[in-house]
């Protein structure tokens, strides 16, 4: 069940490259296995964070103070494109990330964030660029505040930006709702749908008879 999210004031790290895909966020070999939860934080952004010899890349922003403690990412266009691997979100979460602000996200990654209590915020690219510039102007010392209830972001410069979010998803994050439990409350409706659909489209439901 996801942890609720309401307000956050934290260090934010701009990672502005376009099209950072989920393979770059977490490599596939870290995800092969059934007991991977809790092991992924150190592998988030592995190819950017570590040099080929395994040592830290001092140029990568999350390896620098104060960005090492970042709980917010400010990202370039199409962050999280590519694979459906939820391990991308888990690795960021285990690395301490709780919110991501960008101009657009991969559709599946975006949905996976909500499932884990991570807030992805979509704002205009001009706002993202301004936030990144404001953060860099303070060398990362200036914090970014996000208020999900009020749907606002406050930049280190004090500039306030509002954002839109699907009301259902907002409520889910605010309350930390468990979608599986909620949907199971509708199990009668699911069974009623299946009964009437079986009459309309029997070929969908009788998979064991034709094989």
């Amino acid at each position: 069940m996801p942890k609720p999210f309401d307000k956050l004031t934290a260090t934010a790290a701009p990672i502005m490259r376009s099209n950072i895909d989920t393979d770059v966020i977490i490599r596939i070999e870290r995800l092969v296995g059934n007991s991977i939860r809790g092991t992924l934080g150190k592998w988030a952004f592995g190819s950017l964070r570590y040099l080929p010899d395994g040592s830290e890349n001092p140029d990568f922003i999350l390896n620098r103070e104060p960005y090492r403690e970042a709980e917010i990412l400010v990202t370039g266009p199409n962050f999280g494109c590519g694979s459906s691997r939820e391990g991308a979100v888990w690795s960021l979460q285990e690395r301490g990330i709780r919110a991501i602000i960008g101009s657009g996200f991969g559709d599946i990654f975006f949905a996976n964030c909500f499932q884990n209590g991570i807030l992805p915020v979509i704002v205009d690219k001009a706002v993202v660029d301004q936030l990144a510039a404001d953060i860099e102007a303070t060398q990362g010392a200036g914090k970014v505040s996000i208020d999900l209830e009020a749907q606002t972001i406050v930049s280190p410069s004090g500039a306030r930006h509002s954002f839109e979010i699907d009301p259902r998803r907002r409520e889910g994050l605010l309350k930390g709702l468990d979608e599986v439990a909620l949907t199971l409350q509708r199990d009668d409706e699911i069974h009623a749908f299946q009964a009437s659909d079986r009459a309309a489209r029997p070929w969908i439901h009788s998979t064991r008879t034709s094989a």
């Binding site: 494109c81 998979t207 064991r208």
Partner: protein, 467 residues
């Protein structure tokens, strides 16, 4: 009733409950599991004290973590554990498993259509972003994450926001040597890797109607590289002929009823889309990627972009980053770039027609010295059919390695990797940083182009090969 698109018709038919203005609880008709996430999902469900809601609508096969070496030699310990867990958990839940060496095993997006599990008008999900492939049969198919996977196991339903709709019309007659792979790469090059984000894309137009089903599956497969998690093609007579008689397709009177319903699925003539794109296929030449996103693509007779000629600083920096990773010089021709590896396989291009196209180029020729070239059929059935018509011999005589079905070097989850710094021409779907192995360099291309590059030892224009 107002006119509706293919997407809207399928969507409306699957609404169990309307949850908000734009979000519905949708019934899921087919849930496909693979070895990487299948047993994890089933164990997650068990830990919550829940049962699989509809095991008869759920099907599983190992593909990701399995070795594709002959005899499956070298499957990692963890890959073997995942396979063992998948066997135990699917058996315990009453889920059909297409196991290793059995007809039916293969890449999950190859076996769905091949077995007739994937049907027009069906909702199909799998914990894999290339689930959009199945849209080539007129299904509403999309990839989901682990949490959604558990949700589907528990409820046979999924909470989804209705996407925007885009129609991409491919018009004209496809030139010789140009394939479905080139068509979709050209579209990605035109509108970008985020051009389809938030949309369900319907591929239409005369060039789509002319494509065989396997080509349509390839087109839909790359929807996610366009940013769209759903891609689809309206079903037609070709779709019905493709499905007729497949093991899980309806039969007899049920088949007639199904086809009658499927004929109503295509978008109404005056259906409205949020975005329309038109592509003139007669202008497309074989495509090959040069960078680290599928949108980094040119015609094989083209030039690698020169950062010095780009004014926009963000775009210039992006091109510089890509060229540095790829070890390429801006402004140089892409053709003639020497390659170390050629990979023919993946859910994009490992079906029988793909292998035939590659074999046609390879027949009677030799893979260039210093190049390793693999052919990994998409499924056990594809493998057997290819062997029956002698394609394996053509490849082996030409110096390709003929392997067992699986995902293999497309994403390297099974340890089959391109070595650091080495260059690969691959028929797969992603040229991301490290996708085929740490620091591996990937160029995406069609099976015919990949085979031509294996023979030439360098990125090659298949149209110059004289066949």
């Amino acid at each position: 009733m107002p006119s509706r698109s293919l997407l809207e018709k399928i969507w409306d038919q699957h609404v169990i409950a309307r949850l908000s203005e734009d979000t519905d609880l949708l019934h899921i008709d087919r849930h496909l599991l693979h070895d990487l996430g299948g047993s994890r999902g089933l164990l997650d469900l068990k830990s919550r004290g829940l049962k699989v809601h509809n095991p008869e609508l759920t099907f599983a096969t190992p593909d990701h973590a399995l070795s594709t070496a002959p005899g499956r030699a070298g499957t990692s310990k963890i890959g073997q554990e995942l396979l063992a867990a998948l066997r135990v958990e699917t058996a315990a839940s009453g889920i059909t498993l297409f196991d290793v060496d059995q007809p039916g095993q293969g890449i999950v997006h190859v076996i769905g259509p091949e077995l007739g599990l994937s049907l027009p008008g069906a909702t199909i999900v799998c914990g894999d972003s290339h689930t959009c492939t199945h849209g080539g049969l007129g299904a509403l198919a999309f990839g989901i994450g682990s949490s959604e996977l558990t949700h589907v196991l528990a409820t046979q339903a999924l909470i989804q926001r209705r996407p925007k709709t885009m129609r991409a019309r491919f018009e004209g007659k496809l030139p010789l040597g140009v394939t479905a792979k080139d068509m979709i790469l050209a579209l990605i090059g035109q509108i970008g890797a985020a051009g389809g984000t938030g949309y369900a894309v319907e591929y239409a137009g005369s060039a789509i109607r002319a494509l065989p089903i396997e080509g349509r599956l390839t087109i839909c497969n790359l929807s996610i590289e366009l940013g769209a998690k759903m891609g689809m093609v309206a079903p037609d007579e070709k779709t019905f002929e493709f499905l007729r008689g497949r093991p899980y397709a309806p039969q007899g009177e049920m088949w007639d009823r199904a086809v009658k319903a499927w004929r109503d699925l295509p978008s109404d003539p005056d259906a409205v889309f949020d975005r329309e794109v038109v592509i003139d296929v007669e202008k497309i030449i074989p495509q090959v990627t040069w960078g680290i996103s599928p949108e980094h693509v040119v015609g094989v007779d083209g030039i690698i972009p020169d950062p010095k000629a780009i004014d926009d600083p963000a775009r210039r920096a992006a091109v510089e980053t890509a060229l540095e990773y790829m070890g390429l010089q801006g402004g140089a021709p892409i053709a003639g770039t020497p390659v170390d590896w050629v990979f023919i396989g993946s859910c994009t291009n490992s079906r029988l027609s793909d292998l035939r196209a590659a074999a046609e180029v390879a027949r009677g020729r030799k893979v260039a010295a210093g190049v390793r070239a693999w052919v990994v059929p998409g499924s056990e059935n594809v493998k057997r059919e290819a062997v029956a018509e002698g394609l394996d011999k053509i490849f082996i005589e030409a110096g390709f390695e003929w392997r067992e079905p699986g995902c293999s070097m497309c994403l390297a989850a099974n340890g089959e990797v391109v070595a650091p710094g080495q260059r690969s021409v691959s028929t797969s779907n992603r040229n991301f940083v490290g996708r085929q192995g740490p620091r591996a360099r990937t160029h995406l291309a069609s099976p015919a182009s990949a085979a031509a590059s294996a023979i030439a030892g360098a990125i090659a224009d298949v149209r110059m090969m004289g066949r």
